[in-house]
Symmetry: C2
Subunit: 415 residues, 2 copies
């Protein structure tokens, strides 16, 4: 357990696929065994994949997903397919492991086609390359059949590890291609004001993670952060000799902060930045508009990516339902799902409300948004919903022209 644990959703997901007995777990162990900061594996039932979190320099925090459980012969074909699809949904990079002494079969062709279809980079691993004298021939055969390069590897001899890591680094999208929290909006030397309310819900002696991540992204951008509670915002602005590039506030303080921030200074909220970081802000803004159009009898799906201990004022089962009742005044049918499964019959719903997805990576969240869109159903997440509740629209999205357009084009009544 680390005091500074990276949430799983912020880690690069590397999934290890392959037939039974090709040595997937030993490939994972060979990679993680060289590293210092391996977190204990979390194993659920035997059909659940095993997640191993580690730091892989220079990539940063990754999670290696060992799909050993998927080999279970007792598992029904349909269930296995569904589990594989769910894994692919959240895979940033796939390792395809084959056994040099066994070669490839149609299983690999199908899997590879699906991975390519989903535009997921794949690295081939020829395991047990020490167990066959003509390993080079096996490699050539596999490469010809699948059109994929393979790295000769031996988990037992511990050979090929360095080459495999380099191939992973080369295959992953560059850091710059991925979405920043705020770094793409600011320049070195800019002053960015972060408004952080300290109330009884704030953890003692710390900042909550989204605030930390935003502050860190400001520093990573060589910009300067001014951090203040909302009551000191005006004092903070007065103590600056320059106009800030941007003010970012917690949604709950939005109206006070909006009143104190000059009109020519851009203003947004942590929730909006994270909705953009984690998903498709335009689509989520359209989803917020759909709330006003809900009718009596409409079904609303409240989806959470993880199962967590529910507190008495749980956001998904207590706060959001109460708030929906108050705002819409309608009799809605609320349904709840949690975990990695997303229901297939999404078109039953008038709206999907999704959690902040701290356990899902961006790829998985975008996939869920796309599935919901494909079913013709609007989707909003907790962050945008909370922002909406606190009246941050449209000022908090003026910075983002396409989200602003999505807001203006949605035909809900103007708020």
């Amino acid at each position: 357990m680390s005091l500074n644990a990276t949430p799983r959703g912020e880690r690069t997901h590397i999934t290890v696929f392959g037939r039974s007995n090709v040595g997937k777990s030993s490939v994972v162990n060979a990679i993680t065994g060289q590293e210092i900061s391996v977190v204990s594996p979390i194993r659920g039932t035997t059909t659940d994949p095993v997640y191993k979190a580690m730091e892989m320099l220079p990539i940063g925090p990754v999670v290696l997903i060992d799909t050993a459980g998927l080999d279970d012969e007792g598992m029904l074909g349909e269930l296995r397919k569904q589990k594989t699809r769910e894994l692919i949904d959240r895979t940033d990079l796939a390792l395809l492991v084959i056994d040099a002494t066994a070669g490839v079969d149609p299983f690999y062709e199908e899997l590879l086609a699906e991975l390519y279809d989903r535009k997921i980079p794949v690295v081939g691993v020829l395991n047990k390359s020490d167990a066959r004298a003509d390993a080079a021939a096996a490699q050539a055969e596999a490469e010809a059949r699948l059109g994929l390069d393979f790295i000769p590897f031996s988990a037992t001899q511990r050979t090929g590890i360095k080459e495999l890591k380099q191939a992973i680094i080369d295959a992953l999208p560059q850091e710059d291609d991925r979405f920043r929290i705020v770094g793409d909006l600011i320049s070195p030397g800019d002053v960015v004001v972060l408004v952080v309310p300290i109330d009884s819900a704030a953890p003692k002696g710390r900042l909550i993670l989204p605030q930390q991540q935003t502050l860190r992204d400001v520093l990573d951008s060589n910009a300067i952060a001014v951090v203040t509670q909302e009551d000191q915002l005006q004092a903070a602005l007065n103590r600056l000799a320059v106009k800030p590039r941007l003010v970012i506030t917690d949604s709950q303080a939005f109206s006070k902060v909006a009143a104190d921030t000059p009109k020519d200074v851009p203003l947004t909220s942590f929730s909006i930045l994270f909705a953009r970081h984690k998903g498709d802000l335009n689509e989520l803004v359209r989803g917020a508009r759909a709330i006003e159009k809900l009718k009596d009898g409409d079904r609303v799906l409240i989806a959470e990516a993880c199962t967590h201990h529910r507190q008495s004022d749980d956001i998904g089962t207590v706060k959001i339902p109460r708030w929906l009742r108050e705002v819409t005044g309608k009799q809605l049918q609320l349904e709840h799902v949690s975990g990695y499964s997303f229901p297939p019959d999404l078109d039953r719903y008038a709206l999907v409300i999704h959690c902040g997805a701290c356990m899902l990576n961006r790829r998985a969240m975008l996939h869920r948004i796309a599935e919901t869109q494909a079913a013709g159903v609007p989707i909003v997440n907790y962050g945008v919903l909370i922002a909406y509740m606190h009246g941050v629209f449209p000022r908090a999205i003026e910075l983002f022209p396409s989200a602003m357009k999505a807001w203006e084009e949605s035909d809900g009544p103007k708020k």
Copy 2:
């Protein structure tokens, strides 16, 4: 496991003492059972106490220490005494549990004398008060014999919990009496500049805990934090319309930051603030001076409060020994201890170098400093040692007149 876990050393330590079978564990469970955020207990061997971390409002994060293991009849008397002493060393408040059907005996008198001797507040708990019709008589008898008020309690009936919590709150020192990190040095509306270098060792997307805690203490003080990397410090100062009240930097950037900070702006380091927060800065500053006086053959004790996985460039076993060799040029005999045990024969050493003590509370750290002082041995901690290595003295302690005096009065050669 929480992503924002409070380190144990920052929690208020409440230790539950009492004879075997008085129901210590059920008292702990009755208290924690009402709370939401109970962390799983960590149990080592049967003789180790069990630590249960929880939030106890309005106190904040506490750890309840269940000393059940100390009852083990198989444990030798001397070992039990030593374990009890170690527990008392880190106790902020003691719960003394007696069994209404059994009453008190000399064990309690001795324990209470030791607790009072160490100025630790004690709350009496009369457990099993439901199991005896004349519980009030038992209470009166115990109170008369020990001179301590007892709260009638029944873990099985779940009565007395509210009263016990109130007694704990009343008995604990007030928040304001405890040491702040930086809050006592600043006023509302002050601008405090935090210099946070982002290097390869910084965890991705986050701030390390001491930086977070300092930033949070600035916000808790209704002051305004300006957070910047060292290369932007000059730009940050130029963008301010006022002079900052204080600049705080990571020790590694000290010389650059000292050059860029105007002489009339106070400057210190996170390590110095934490040495003060966690221990006795004056004594640790004197300890730093002792490094220069080490002679060939001197024994140096390097003490760490927890056992952790040692990395290849481990601070205690690799970095500090290397640095001591370089700076002193002497043949030193380094000895290492880790865990809650502190060797009794401290006078064998010419210097004690203690870790940052994130697993010890302030009380325990102060106790270790006092023990070392009593043995006539200088003590320094990692934070002050690192600050010393980076040449922060004396500028970083000018803010603290008594530490400055300790520095000037130490008769080591001027650095």
